[in-house]
C-alpha cells in the first residue's frame, strides 16, 4: 500500500498481538492515539501506568516486539480491506453508542455487514449447543416471530439454539435483522457447518468480533464474546441451558449490566433445560412465544402470535392422545404404547401419520412434538 495506513489499522494490529487482552488493549488505546499506542507496545516509545508494568515483563516485551513486525498495521489493514471488514475503534463516530458506557467496552471491533443494525430494537436469544428438537424448534420460532415484528436478534452463531434463532429470523424475511457476535476472526468460520448461516448474517445483518481476521476460536474468547452479546441487547432470552451452561455466562453479564433476562420453560426431565428453568425460579420472565418478548419490549404484539394459518393437517382424533403423550416429554414407542394404551401397530400408524403431517419429529427412536403446539 502506497499511502500510510489510517489510525484504525494500528489499533487492529494491536488487537492481534499475542499476550494482548482487553484490559491491556483498553489501557493502550484509552490514553494514546493508536499510532502512538502501537509505538509504545512495540517498544519505540516510553510506557507508563499499567502498560509500563506490563512491558516490564520480559516475555511480554519480547513477544510484542516480534508481533510489531509480524502484525504490521499495513498487513492487518490490507487483510481487513480484502475481506471487507471494517475496523471500529472505541471513540470513533460509528462506534456503537450502547457500548460506550459499558464497564468493559471492546477497545476495537471488527464488523462485517450493515452497522445500521445497531440502531433498532435488539434481543439476544442464547442457549445450549446440545438442544433438544423441541428447544431448536422454539428458538427457530422465536427468531422467526421477532424477525417478522422488526426486532433484531443478537446471538453467538454457535451450534444448537444460537444457530436456530438466526435461521428462524432469516427465514422470516421481516424487518428484524441478525446480529452475530463471534469469538473467532470474521474469516474463521466456527463451527464449520455454519458457513452458510455465517455468510447470510454478514449479508443481511451484521457480524461483529473483537478479534482481528485470522484469530482462531480459542476457549477463553467465548465468555468475552458473551459479554458483548449481553451488552448489546435490551433483553436476553435463554431458550435451553444446562445447569452450568455457557449461556449462563451471558445471563450473568446481562445481570451485571441491568439487562432483563427471560427464559423459555422446559420439561422437568429435560437436562438441557435445567439452567433455564432455574432462571425462571429465580424470577426471570417466562417466554412461550415471540409475543411475550414483544410485550416485555413494550411493542405492539398483536400482529405477532401464532402463525395465522398452520399449514399442517389437523391430526385425526385417535392420533391426538399419541401427540399429547409426546408433547409432554420425549417418548419412545414403548412408552407411548404404555401411556396411551394402544397396540404397537396402532401406535406405529399414529406416529407415521403425525410425523408425516409435521406434528412430531424423531431421532434415535425418540419422538418429540415440534412446531406450534396443537390447540
Amino acid at each position: 500500500m502506497s499511502t500510510a495506513p489510517p489510525a484504525q489499522a494500528y489499533a487492529a494490529a494491536l488487537a492481534g498481538f499475542s499476550l494482548m487482552n482487553v484490559h491491556r488493549l483498553g489501557a493502550l488505546l484509552r490514553h494514546h492515539p493508536p499510532e502512538h499506542a502501537f509505538a509504545i507496545a512495540s517498544g519505540h516509545a516510553p510506557a507508563d501506568g499499567l502498560i509500563g508494568r506490563v512491558l516490564a515483563k520480559p516475555d511480554v516485551r519480547d513477544t510484542w516486539r516480534t508481533c510489531a513486525t509480524t502484525h504490521s498495521p499495513e498487513r492487518v489493514w490490507q487483510r481487513c480491506h480484502d475481506l471487507g471488514v471494517r475496523v471500529i475503534v472505541y471513540g470513533d463516530p460509528d462506534y456503537p453508542t450502547i457500548l460506550l458506557d459499558d464497564p468493559l467496552p471492546p477497545p476495537v471491533l471488527f464488523a462485517l455487514g450493515d452497522l445500521a443494525v445497531l440502531e433498532g430494537r435488539r434481543v439476544a436469544i442464547v442457549g445450549t449447543r446440545n438442544a433438544t428438537a423441541a428447544g431448536r424448534d422454539v428458538a427457530t420460532r422465536l427468531g422467526h416471530g421477532l424477525g417478522a415484528s422488526g426486532v433484531h436478534v443478537v446471538s453467538g452463531l454457535a451450534r444448537g439454539i444460537d444457530g436456530c434463532a438466526h435461521r428462524g429470523l432469516l427465514g422470516a424475511q421481516g424487518a428484524g435483522r441478525a446480529l452475530g457476535v463471534v469469538a473467532s476472526g470474521l474469516d474463521v468460520v466456527y463451527p464449520r457447518e455454519h458457513l452458510q448461516l455465517w455468510r447470510q448474517v454478514a449479508e443481511h445483518g451484521l457480524l461483529l468480533s473483537e478479534a482481528p481476521p485470522g484469530t482462531s476460536p480459542e476457549a477463553h474468547r467465548f465468555p468475552l464474546r458473551n459479554r458483548i452479546i449481553a451488552a448489546m441487547s435490551e433483553l436476553v432470552v435463554v431458550v435451553e441451558s444446562r445447569e452450568k451452561g455457557g449461556s449462563l455466562i451471558t445471563v450473568n453479564e446481562a445481570a451485571d449490566r441491568g439487562v432483563p433476562i427471560m427464559a423459555v420453560p422446559g420439561g422437568l426431565h429435560n437436562r438441557s433445560a435445567t439452567g433455564s428453568n432455574n432462571l425462571l425460579r429465580e424470577g426471570a420472565g417466562a417466554v412461550i412465544d415471540a409475543s411475550d418478548v414483544l410485550i416485555a419490549l413494550s411493542m405492539d404484539h398483536r400482529r405477532s402470535g401464532p402463525a395465522a394459518s398452520d399449514q399442517r393437517a389437523r391430526p385425526r382424533r385417535d392420533d391426538i392422545p399419541v401427540y399429547e403423550a409426546c408433547a409432554g416429554e420425549p417418548r419412545t414407542i414403548d412408552s407411548i404404547v404404555l401411556a396411551v394404551d394402544v397396540s404397537l401397530a396402532e401406535a406405529a400408524m399414529s406416529l407415521a401419520r403425525l410425523e408425516q403431517a409435521g406434528w412430531l419429529g424423531q431421532a434415535d427412536g425418540w419422538f418429540e412434538a415440534v412446531g406450534a403446539p396443537l390447540r
Binding site: N270, A273, T332, L351
Partner: protein, 505 residues
C-alpha cells in the same frame, strides 16, 4: 516290514483322508516322519515312542520311516499319533496287517499310552469314507453323529492293540449320556416391557433380518440379543450337519447327542482379532466365530469398539454365507450363514432421552461414524432400546414366552419358504413387487417417507422386506402387505442422528 493305515487330518472344516505308511528296516536306528508334517505332527515321534514303551510294547533299534500320503499336502495336528503307533506295530509284526486294513484310526497319544481326543473328529470321519473308525472314548458322541456304521472306542493304546490282535474284546462304548440337550437358552419371558425390541427379535428370527440395537448401557441390549437364538427354529438336517462339522473342527464341545440341532449363539468380545472372527490363522485354517455362528446368531456387543478392519471382514460372508480363507498354499471355504445382531450406545456417554446426553455434536458424530457406511447399511432392523420403566420391572408376569413366539416364527418362515424358498431378507429387489406386493395406502405411506427424505432408496427395499415378514407373522391370509405392516416396519428402523443427515439412512 511295511504297513499302511487309514487316518485323516483337518483343513478348515473338511477332513482329508491320509494314509500313514510305516517302513521298518535294518540300518542305523532312526525314526523319521516325511510327507509335510507340521510341528505338532513331527513331535508325534516322541509321543509315539514313549506311549509304546509305557504300554509295555517293544521299541526295537531299527530304522523307522513314516510317510504321510499324499505327500504333497501339509498335515497338521496330533490326530495321526494313533495311526503312526499302530502302523509301526504292524510293520514290526506285532499286529497282523489284515486286522487293521478296514479301520481308520484317529487320536492323540499321551506319554503314558492313553488315547486323547483331537478337534475335528466329525469331519475327519466323514473323510475316512467306508472304513470303520477307531476314536478316543471322549470323541464317541462326536463320531456317532457322523459315522454311518459302528464306531470303536478305546481309552489307551494297549486297549486298541489288544482288540486288534483279538486278545480282548473292544471296550464298550460309553452309555449315551442322558439326553440333556444343550442348556435351555434364556427365555423371552424374562424381558419386561420393550415391546418394540421384542417385535424386532421376532421379525429378525422370522425373516433373517440383521438387527442393530441402539440404546444406553443397562437398557438390556445384551439380554435381548441372547434371547434371539431361542426364537430360531431347529436347524435343518443339512444345516445341523454343517454346524456340527464346524464345531468339531474348532474343538468346541458338542452336545451329548453329538449333532448340533439348536441354533448356536456366539458373542465374541470386541477385542477379537480378524482371524478369530473370520477364521484361518494356522495352516489348518481353523474356523472363526462367524463360522461357529453358522445357522445361528452372531452377536457383536459394542459394535463401534470392534476394529474397523474386522468389521469390514464381515461384509463378504454377510453377502455370500461362506467365508473363503486362503493362505499361500492352502485355501478353504468355511460356512458362515448367520444372523447378525449388533448393539451400540447412541453416543460415547451412553445417551438417553434427548437433552440428557453429555456429548457434543462432534463427539456423537465421530462415535456413530465408526458404524456408518456399508456395514450399517446391512441392518434391516434398527431399534432403539431404552431402560424399562420401573412399573414394567415390578409388574408381575412378563410377556409371551419364547415358545409362543418361536411357534409364530416357524409358521412365518414356512409361509416365506412356500412362497419363494428364501427367507424374506434375501428377496432380491427385482422380485419385491411379485413376492411382497403392497396395498395402495401402504405405497402412499412409503412415498411420503421418501419425499420427506426420511428414507433412502436402499432403505426402501429393506422396509418392504421387513414389512413382508411382519405380514407373514400376522398370518393374514391375504398375500398383500398392508399399511400397518409398513408403519411397523418403519418404526423398526429408527433414524440415528448421524444417518438423518443423509449419510446412510
Amino acid at each position: 516290514m511295511l504297513a499302511a493305515i487309514h487316518s485323516a487330518t483337518l483343513l478348515g472344516v473338511e477332513g482329508r483322508s491320509v494314509t500313514v505308511e510305516v517302513h521298518v528296516s535294518t540300518g542305523l536306528p532312526a525314526f523319521q516322519i516325511v510327507g509335510l508334517p507340521d510341528e505338532a505332527c513331527r513331535e508325534s515321534r516322541d509321543r509315539v515312542r514313549a506311549a509304546l514303551l509305557s504300554s509295555g510294547l517293544a521299541w526295537p533299534s531299527r530304522r523307522v520311516t513314516v510317510n504321510l500320503a499324499p505327500s504333497s499336502q501339509r498335515k497338521g495336528g496330533s490326530g495321526l499319533d494313533l495311526a503312526i503307533a499302530i502302523g509301526f506295530l504292524v510293520a514290526n509284526g506285532d499286529v497282523p496287517s489284515e486286522a487293521v486294513e478296514r479301520f481308520g484310526l484317529l487320536g492323540e497319544l499321551g506319554l503314558d499310552g492313553s488315547l486323547r481326543p483331537v478337534p475335528g473328529v466329525a469331519p475327519m470321519i466323514a473323510a475316512l469314507g467306508g472304513v470303520r473308525p477307531i476314536v478316543p472314548m471322549e470323541s464317541h458322541h462326536e463320531a456317532r453323529a457322523i459315522a454311518e456304521g459302528e464306531v470303536f472306542v478305546a481309552r489307551t493304546l494297549r486297549e486298541v492293540v489288544d482288540a486288534l490282535t483279538g486278545e480282548a474284546p473292544w471296550p464298550p462304548a460309553p452309555d449315551d449320556e442322558p439326553d440333556i440337550d444343550q442348556p435351555d437358552p434364556p427365555d423371552l419371558v424374562d424381558v419386561r416391557g420393550q415391546a418394540a425390541a421384542r417385535l424386532a427379535l421376532e421379525v429378525a428370527a422370522a425373516g433373517g433380518h440383521h438387527l442393530l440395537l441402539v440404546g444406553p448401557p443397562g437398557s438390556g441390549k445384551t439380554m435381548l440379543a441372547q434371547r434371539l437364538a431361542g426364537l430360531l427354529p431347529p436347524l435343518s438336517p443339512a444345516m445341523a450337519l454343517e454346524a456340527t462339522m464346524v464345531h468339531s473342527a474348532a474343538g468346541v464341545r458338542l452336545p451329548a447327542v453329538g449333532m448340533i440341532r439348536r441354533a448356536p449363539f456366539r458373542a465374541p468380545h470386541h477385542s477379537s482379532s480378524m482371524v478369530s472372527l473370520v477364521g484361518g490363522g494356522t495352516s489348518s485354517l481353523r474356523p472363526g466365530e462367524i463360522s461357529l455362528a453358522h445357522g445361528g446368531v452372531l452377536f457383536l456387543d459394542e459394535l463401534g469398539e470392534f476394529a474397523p478392519t474386522v468389521l469390514d471382514g464381515l461384509r463378504q460372508p454377510l453377502e455370500e454365507g461362506v467365508i473363503r480363507v486362503a493362505r499361500a498354499r492352502v485355501s478353504a471355504s468355511l460356512p458362515a450363514r448367520f444372523l447378525l445382531v449388533a448393539a451400540t450406545n447412541p453416543c460415547p456417554c451412553g445417551g438417553g432421552a434427548p437433552g440428557s446426553c453429555e456429548c457434543d455434536d462432534a463427539a456423537r458424530l465421530r462415535y456413530l461414524r465408526r458404524l456408518s457406511g456399508p456395514l450399517l447399511d446391512r441392518f434391516d432392523l434398527r431399534v432403539g432400546v431404552q431402560r424399562p420403566e420401573v412399573d414394567d420391572l415390578l409388574a408381575a408376569g412378563g410377556g409371551e414366552t419364547s415358545a409362543v413366539v418361536a411357534a409364530r416364527v416357524l409358521a412365518a418362515r414356512q409361509r416365506a419358504f412356500e412362497r419363494c424358498g428364501l427367507v424374506n431378507a434375501q428377496i432380491p429387489p427385482s422380485h419385491l413387487d411379485l413376492l411382497a406386493p403392497i396395498s395402495a395406502d401402504a405405497r402412499l405411506l412409503l412415498r411420503n417417507e421418501l419425499e420427506h427424505e426420511r428414507l433412502t432408496g436402499r432403505g426402501y427395499h429393506r422396509i418392504r422386506r421387513v414389512a413382508r415378514t411382519i405380514a407373514d407373522l400376522h398370518g393374514d391370509s391375504d398375500e398383500v402387505v398392508l399399511e400397518h405392516h409398513v408403519a411397523l416396519a418403519l418404526q423398526l428402523r429408527v433414524r440415528l442422528r448421524v444417518t438423518s443427515r443423509g449419510q446412510a439412512a
